[in-house]
C-alpha cells in the first residue's frame, strides 16, 4: 500500500476512461506479431514426438532413420538436456523430455529440427520408440487407495488441505446433500503454443514466446539448459489468449535446446491437436457437499470434500487445492465448517491453471447445494442467498475478516431485479429456429421446450495467496521528446489480450499528467511482473506502475520546488508543465528542469502480505482480496432431446473501480461465456488416460450463436487497500456464470443434474 500527498492532474484517456488499446490497430490489420508469426532468415522448424501411452516404460529409442532424412538438423532425447531435466511451477517434477518412463499420453519424448515443418513431422514419425505399457492410474479417488500404482515416486497425493472451523459435529434441522462432478475444461486460447529461439553469440539464447509470466519461465529454462540467467533472455511475443494455459512451460525449453544444438533460430508452433496435449487443463473435480440450516434458512454448518485430478505432474495443483479448500463453501456466513480438499496424481493429462481455478469447480457444488437447501426449506433460492451472504466485517471460513465491501446480497438482488427476456410464444411454423434449442438443426419449433431460470453468487480470491511473495516491478521514464512530455512504461507483465497495456498507459497519464505514453516491449531486462493470472495484473502491476509514476513525479516536483521556491505539495504535473495547484499557473516546465535528460524510477511493489494457513485447521489470513459476482441465467430446454439454448446470461459484479469500463465489460462478457461453456459443452474427454477429442471439431467452445446477450451491472465499492480501490475482474464471471446456467437447466427439466458439462442424456434421463 503506497500513500501519496501529491496531487494528480486530469488528463484525457486516464484512469476510469474507455481509453483505446494501443495494439488495436495492429490487430485489425493483421500486422500484430503473434508468437506464431515470428520468422527469421535461416530458421528451422522444431517439432515434438509425444507418448501415445498414458503410462509406459521406454525400452529403447532409435533415432537413426530420422537423422538420415534430408533436411533434418537435429533429433534430441532426454540425454541431450544439459541442465536439470525437470521443470514445473510448484514442484519441478516434469521432465523436459521423458527419461525412461512416460506418465501421460502426450508427454514429450523427442524433438526434431528440420528445414520444413512437414519434414520435421515425418522425421519424428521415423523415430522408433519401444514402449512397455504399464497399468495406468486414471481415477483420482482410487489413486489415493492403498495398493494403487504410484504415478510419482513420492506417492499420489499432491496436497491435502484440511479446514476446520467451529463445531465439527454441529447438527441442523434441515440438511441438504449434493454430489457433483466437473469435467476437464480446456483453455482453448486461439493462438497456439509457439515461439522463436535464437542462439546468441555469447553462448546463450534469446527466446520470443507467448506466456503469462516471463520470469518464472526464465528460471525454469535456465535450470534445464544449465546456463546462467543472464544468458537466457525472454521477450514476450504476441499472445493469442491464455486463460491459465500458458502458466506452465510448453515449447520454451524445447526450442532453446534445438537452437543451441543446431546453432540456428528455431521456430515451433503447435497444431491445434498438439496444443490439446501441450498445455495443462482445468482440473476435473469430484465433490461431496452437505449444508445444514435452521428452519429460517440461517446456515449452521457446511461440509465439503473435494478431489481434484491433477494428472501426471503437479503444475499448480497445490494452489487449486488451496482455492477449492479456502473458498469452496461460497460467499456465505457459516459458523461451523469442515472441508477436505485433495489434489492427486494420476496418469491423466496434467491439469493446472485455468481462469478461476479451484473456485470454478467448487462453485458448481456450493450453488447446487444451496438450491437444494432452499428447496428443502421451502424458501426462495435468492432469499436464502440474501440471508446468508457475506458482509463486510464477517469472518470467512479461514477466520479471515472481510475488511472491505462484500455486497453479496445486493449483487444477487440486482440480477434478480433485472428485466427478464420475453416469454417464448407457442410452438409455430414461424418460430425463428436460431432462437430454439438445437438451432438451425431444426429439432424443434418450441414443442417440448421449457424455460428455466437459475441464480448463483460466488467469490474469487484475487492475487496469489497463502503467503506467496506476490510483487510486480515497473520502470517509468519521463522525458521531453520533440517538445512534448512522453512517458515510457516498462514491465515484464504479460499482456495476453486482457488490456494490461491500456491500463498501464492510463495510469501513467493520470499520475504524470501526460497524454503520450509508450509501452516498452515486455521482457526480462526489467524485474518480474509476476504472473498474468489470479485476476492480479491491474492490481499488482497497476500498483507498481502507479508507484513508479509517483516516484517519478515526486522527483520532478522536488526539482521544481528547488528551482522555483514553491512547496512540492502545492505543485502538480500537467502536460510537461509544473503547475501551481491553486492558481493553475505554470511555474516551470519539464524541459527546463531536465533538458534532454529524463527522470526514471523503477519500483518493486507488493500488496498486503497474505499468510500461510494452519495445516491442521486451515485457518489464517490467506487472501489479499475477494471479488464478488452474481449471475442469472435464463435457458430454454428441449426436455425431450436434452438440448439447451441459453436465452440470457445477466450479471452484477463489484469491480471496486473500473479502470477501463469497456475493458471490464469485455472481461465479464468473455469470462461469462467460458463459464457457460463449461456448464453445457466443454469437456476434454479422457478414456483410460487417452484424450478422445483433441480438436475444435470435437471439443466445442461457444460460438456467437451459443452466447446470449448479457446485461451487466457494475458496482464500484472501493477496496481501501487496493490501487484506486480496484478489484480484479477477470475470473469472477467465470466462477459465477456456469453454476447459474446449470441451475437454470435444473429448474427447467426438474432433474437434479450432478455433473457438468450437462449432456443431453442427463436431461432426458437416458444415460
Amino acid at each position: 500500500m503506497t500513500t501519496t500527498t501529491t496531487r494528480t492532474a486530469t488528463t484525457a484517456a486516464g484512469v476510469g476512461t474507455n481509453a483505446v488499446r494501443p495494439d488495436g490497430t495492429l490487430k485489425v490489420t493483421g500486422e500484430f506479431a503473434f508468437s506464431s508469426d515470428l520468422w527469421m532468415d535461416g530458421m528451422v522448424w522444431g517439432t515434438t514426438l509425444r507418448s501415445p501411452h498414458p503410462s509406459a516404460r521406454i525400452v529403447s529409442v532409435d533415432t537413426s532413420a530420422a537423422l538420415k532424412m534430408p533436411g533434418v538438423h537435429a533429433v534430441l532425447l532426454a540425454d541431450d538436456v544439459p541442465g536439470v531435466n525437470a521443470v514445473g511451477l510448484e514442484h519441478q517434477d516434469q521432465p523436459v523430455l521423458a527419461d525412461g518412463v512416460v506418465r501421460y499420453q502426450g508427454e514429450p519424448v523427442a524433438l526434431v529440427a528440420a528445414e520444413h515443418p512437414e519434414t520435421a513431422r515425418r522425421a519424428a514419425g521415423r523415430i522408433v520408440v519401444v514402449y512397455e505399457a504399464l497399468d495406468a492410474v486414471t481415477d483420482a479417488r482410487t489413486a489415493l487407495e492403498p495398493g494403487s500404482p504410484l504415478v510419482q515416486p513420492g506417492g499420489n497425493l499432491v496436497r491435502h488441505l484440511r479446514l476446520r472451523k467451529g463445531d465439527a459435529d454441529a447438527t441442523a434441522p434441515v440438511v441438504a446433500t449434493v454430489d457433483f462432478e466437473v469435467g476437464m475444461q480446456d483453455q482453448a486460447f486461439l493462438g497456439p503454443e509457439s515461439g522463436l529461439a535464437v542462439p546468441a553469440e555469447d553462448g546463450g539464447v534469446d527466446l520470443y514466446v507467448a506466456t503469462q509470466w516471463l520470469h518464472v519461465d526464465q528460471a525454469q529454462v535456465v535450470r534445464a539448459l544449465g546456463l546462467p540467467p543472464e544468458k537466457v533472455r525472454l521477450t514476450l511475443a504476441g499472445v493469442g489468449g491464455a486463460f491459465g494455459g500458458r502458466e506452465d512451460l510448453s515449447m520454451h525449453v524445447h526450442a532453446c535446446l534445438l537452437a543451441l544444438h543446431t546453432g540456428k533460430p528455431v521456430k515451433m508452433s503447435y497444431s491445434r491437436e498438439e496444443s490439446f496435449f501441450g498445455h495443462v487443463h482445468r482440473h476435473p473435480a469430484s465433490m461431496q457437499y452437505s449444508y445444514g440450516a435452521e428452519r429460517d434458512g440461517t446456515l449452521v454448518f457446511a461440509r465439503a470434500g473435494l478431489v481434484f485430478d491433477g494428472g501426471a505432474y503437479a503444475s499448480s495443483t497445490g494452489a487449486v487445492v488451496g482455492n477449492g479448500g479456502t473458498m469452496g463453501i461460497g460467499p456465505y456466513r457459516v459458523p461451523n465448517v469442515s472441508v477436505d480438499s485433495y489434489g492427486v496424481y494420476t496418469n491423466n493429462p496434467p491439469c493446472g491453471a485455468m481462469r478461476g481455478f479451484g473456485c470454478v469447480q467448487a462453485a458448481f457444488a456450493h450453488e447446487a447445494v444451496m438450491d437444494a437447501l432452499a428447496d428443502q426449506l421451502g424458501m426462495d433460492r435468492v432469499d436464502l442467498r440474501r440471508l446468508n451472504g457475506m458482509r463486510e466485517g464477517d469472518e470467512n471460513i479461514t477466520g479471515q475478516v472481510i475488511d472491505s465491501p462484500a455486497p453479496v446480497a445486493e449483487l444477487i438482488e440486482r440480477v434478480r431485479d433485472m428485466p427478464l427476456p420475453p416469454t417464448p410464444g407457442a410452438p409455430s411454423r414461424d418460430t425463428d429456429l436460431r432462437s430454439m434449442p438445437g438451432g438451425v438443426a431444426n429439432t424443434t419449433h418450441g414443442e417440448g421446450v421449457v424455460r428455466g431460470i437459475g441464480y448463483s453468487v460466488t467469490y474469487k480470491n484475487v492475487g496469489f495467496s497463502e503467503g506467496f511473495d506476490d510483487y510486480s516491478t515497473a520502470r517509468v521514464r519521463l522525458e521531453v521528446t520533440a517538445g512534448e512530455a512522453v512517458a515510457t512504461v516498462h514491465t515484464a507483465a504479460a499482456e495476453v489480450g486482457q488490456g494490461l497495456v491500456t491500463v498501464e498507459q492510463q495510469i501513467c497519464r493520470t499520475e504524470l499528467g501526460v497524454d503520450q505514453v509508450t509501452v516498452h516491449p515486455t521482457d526480462t531486462t526489467v524485474g518480474s511482473g509476476g504472473s498474468t493470472s489470479a485476476s492480479r495484473q491491474t492490481y499488482v502491476t497497476g500498483g507498481a506502475v502507479k508507484a513508479a509514476c509517483e516516484a517519478v513525479r515526486a522527483r520532478v516536483l522536488a526539482l521544481a520546488a528547488d528551482a522555483t521556491g514553491h512547496a512540492a505539495s502545492d505543485l502538480l504535473l500537467r502536460g510537461g508543465s509544473v503547475v501551481d495547484a491553486s492558481s493553475q499557473d505554470v511555474v516551470t516546465t519539464l524541459a527546463e528542469l531536465v533538458g534532454d535528460g529524463a527522470v526514471e524510477e523503477t519500483v518493486e511493489w507488493r500488496h498486503r502480505p497474505t499468510k500461510a494457513i494452519d495445516p491442521e485447521t486451515g485457518q489464517g489470513d490467506a487472501h489479499v482480496q475477494f471479488a464478488f459476482s452474481a449471475h442469472r441465467a435464463v435457458v430454454d430446454v428441449d426436455v425431450e432431446l436434452g438440448l439447451v439454448k441459453v436465452v440470457a446470461l445477466d450479471t452484477a459484479q463489484d469491480v471496486g473501480k473500473a479502470i477501463n469500463p469497456d475493458a471490464v465489460l469485455g472481461q465479464i462478457q468473455g469470462g461469462s461465456a467460458q463459464g457457460m461453456g463449461l456448464a453445457l459443452m466443454e469437456e476434454v474427454l479422457v478414456v483410460d488416460g487417452t484424450v478422445r477429442n483433441p480438436s475444435f471439431t470435437d471439443y466445442l467452445i461457444p460460438t456467437i450463436l451459443d452466447v446470449p446477450p448479457m446485461r451487466i451491472e457494475l458496482l464500484e465499492n472501493p477496496d481501501p487497500f487496493a490501487p484506486y480501490g480496484l478489484r480484479g475482474v477477470g475470473e469472477p464471471p467465470t466462477v459465477s456464470s456456469g453454476p447459474a446456467v446449470a441451475a437454470a437447466v435444473r429448474q427447467a427439466c426438474g432433474v437434479a443434474l450432478h455433473r457438468v458439462p450437462i449432456r443431453p442424456e442427463h436431461i432426458t434421463g437416458t444415460g
Binding site: 495494439d23 485489425v28 506479431a33 483453455q187 491445434r272 488490456g499 461469462s672 480438436s695 450463436l705
Partner: protein, 159 residues
C-alpha cells in the same frame, strides 16, 4: 513447385512449394502475410478467413496449389493507404479486440457480410459469424462492432 496468384492486388510468385502446403502456410510463411491466423488449421475456427476469387474460404483448407492463378484477398488487403477500413475501425472503436487472434478472420467475414447485406439483423449476424470462434470477448462487442460498421458504411453514424 512454383505457384502464382494475385494477393491483395499484387502478382505473387513463390517457388519450392511442397504439394501438401496449404494456402494459409504459403501466405504466412512464404509471402510474409501472417495476418491470416493459424488457430486450428482444420476449418473450425475461421481465423484464417480470406477471399478466394471473391468467396470466403478458410485458407487452411485450400491447398496452395489450388490457388494457382486465382485472386486472394487477406486481412492485410482491406485497409486503405491512410486509414483503416470502416469494419476494422469499428472493431477497434467497439472494443471488439482483446487478444486479437480471431480478429483478422472476423474482420474479413464481417467485410463480406456487410457487402452483401448492409443492415443485417442480429440473428443474421450471428449466423454469418458462427464459423468464427472467439475465446476472449463473449461476442457481445463483436456484435457491437458489426452494428457500428454497418451504420458507418451507410454514412450515417448512430447517435
Amino acid at each position: 513447385m512454383r505457384i502464382t496468384m494475385t494477393v491483395n492486388g499484387e502478382h505473387r510468385e513463390v517457388d519450392d512449394v511442397w504439394e501438401g502446403e496449404s494456402l494459409l502456410y504459403a501466405l504466412r510463411e512464404r509471402m510474409g502475410l501472417p495476418g491470416s491466423k493459424n488457430a486450428c488449421e482444420q476449418g473450425e475456427c475461421g481465423s484464417c478467413t480470406v477471399y478466394l476469387d471473391g468467396v470466403l474460404a478458410c485458407a487452411c483448407l485450400v491447398a496452395a496449389g489450388q490457388a494457382q492463378g486465382r485472386e486472394v484477398v487477406t486481412v492485410e488487403g482491406l485497409a486503405g493507404t491512410d486509414e483503416l477500413h470502416p469494419v476494422q475501425q469499428a472493431f477497434v472503436d467497439a472494443g471488439a479486440v482483446q487478444c486479437g487472434f480471431c480478429t483478422p478472420g472476423l474482420v474479413v467475414a464481417t467485410h463480406e457480410l456487410l457487402a452483401r447485406e448492409p443492415r443485417p439483423s442480429d440473428p443474421v449476424v450471428r449466423e454469418a459469424l458462427a464459423g468464427n470462434l472467439c475465446r476472449c470477448t463473449g461476442y457481445e462487442k463483436i456484435l457491437d462492432a458489426v452494428r457500428l460498421a454497418a451504420v458507418r458504411l451507410e454514412g450515417v453514424e448512430r447517435p
